[in-house]
Subunit: 159 residues, 4 copies
DNA sequence: TTTT
DNA sequence: TTTT
């Protein structure tokens, strides 16, 4: 029940591997970008394509799913809300703004780098199951967290 | 038909009277801000309300509707797409960003300053009809345009 | 987190006063219809308007809000999910279907019978506050429930 | 610009190969069903999954895309509007209803039977390109139409 | 009738 | 800068 509505729906490809930060023991944050494409026709009737880049952020359980299953090239569906943060730039003293979509719902549409037709990953583990990243400490060596196995079958993918 | 989706749905109140610009004879642009509210509960269980401000932009026919019917305090429903523009700041040389929602569909939910229950405006023209702004030259004296009466009953409100 | 998406967004006017049923002590159900309009142009270029009627259903707390604030003519924004129920018709033995939108989010856009500009209701209580129906036993005499005052300021409207 | 909103967003799997009908030379119609899943927890805390079936219909150019690229098992994203048709049943004389989603926007999320990771089809044509159905006369032998090659590169997939 |  |  709300007086207002703030909802965004995006479907596109992830621009780079998510950055993961652990704020507190209990709160993971994931930041990444998502590309959507717009096709328009100019006055001469020629078709052009532009790419729009969106800043996405996820918290908590959703951030853990991002950490474990989303990477550069992944195709995802996202539902969220817009949020604009502002701060004073240290150097120039100017007000700066950054608009983000806070993810409230996430659907994975591809695995292994967004290549919807590749067959390479099944050969990696030889059993046909989806291989997931349960840690990415190499990419973010400063972090120290463990995937919570409790509360569900560890072999069950949570989406 | 598209490979990606870029859709935002907003319902809220307009922060101030739209700024109207006429780029060419044929292309009106309207810029304004929209507020949405978010209620969240902090760790102490106390309820807080934040306001999110969105930059909206409309073009063409939609901008004309904004010019004529939207004002500070109006409650509106908007469907659009996200667009982030960037430019180099003249003074500092820094890259700056501004994210906007380009309006693709607009529904007016209130008239006369968003007061959904006020009866004052009907007394202004004494006939119970909705009174609309067909020009706002006072607010934007530098502009010179006329509302196009052709293509429809001038008494018909186009939404 | 989900593998699929089932989401409907409707904004329109309520066709008749909601029917309220109390299944158990704890679970109120509200059923009503919502009209949306579609304007289309036929092959001759003439404009036509059709009305689409949607079956809406709300449960629990949301149903209580519907009971107390929604009536015939109310303009509302609704977000929900589609659900199709089927049963065998007693007389004919035929399979029958009914598709409903289960309300997940509700925003009231008007008060007093959807008349967004009326001033009559404020004269009813003489204090400018919105008057709400806290019971509708006349309309639904078979029911016996009371609006729960606990859990919040009884003068606070919950949306 | 509209007074009301009637919008549905679905992401799921296609239940069976679309039925294609050609009403006139110029108007193709495609009918098919789409499954979405809902997970809920009962009073005992046990998790259950239900499947919701949606009736989808596409017209014109969109129907041609459905005809050529959508099949049983395909995963798709759809945006559309709800429409309920009614008729009197010939046998019983009863009023019957059928609610459909009229597709306004369609995004294909998988190829070859929804297997997002399968590599089998690329071996069918040996060049790694997506293989599309440009006719389905076997399935609908009564029809006689040809995919329009004009208006674009015939090798370009239109979404 | 889909999918995980 | 809106609104309740």
């Amino acid at each position: 029940m709300g007086k207002t509505v703030n909802k965004s729906i995006l479907l596109g490809h992830v621009g780079k591997d998510p950055e993961i930060h652990v704020l507190q023991a209990d709160n993971t944050v994931a930041n990444f970008t998502l590309a959507t494409n717009d096709i328009y026709r100019d006055r001469m009737g020629e078709s052009h394509e532009t790419t729009e880049w969106h800043n996405l952020v996820a918290f908590g359980r959703t951030a853990e799913v991002v950490r474990d299953y989303v990477q550069k090239g992944s195709r995802i569906y996202v539902e969220g809300k817009l949020r604009t943060r502002s701060w004073d730039d240290r150097e120039t003293g100017q007000k700066k703004y950054r608009t983000e979509i806070v993810i409230l719902d996430l659907t994975l549409l591809s695995f292994n780098n967004g290549n919807e037709n590749g067959a390479d990953y099944s050969s990696e583990n030889g059993n046909g199951a989806r291989q997931v990243r349960r840690s990415n400490t190499q990419q973010h060596p400063g972090q120290d967290y463990a995937y919570s196995e409790q509360g569900g079958d560890p072999n069950e993918i949570p989406f």
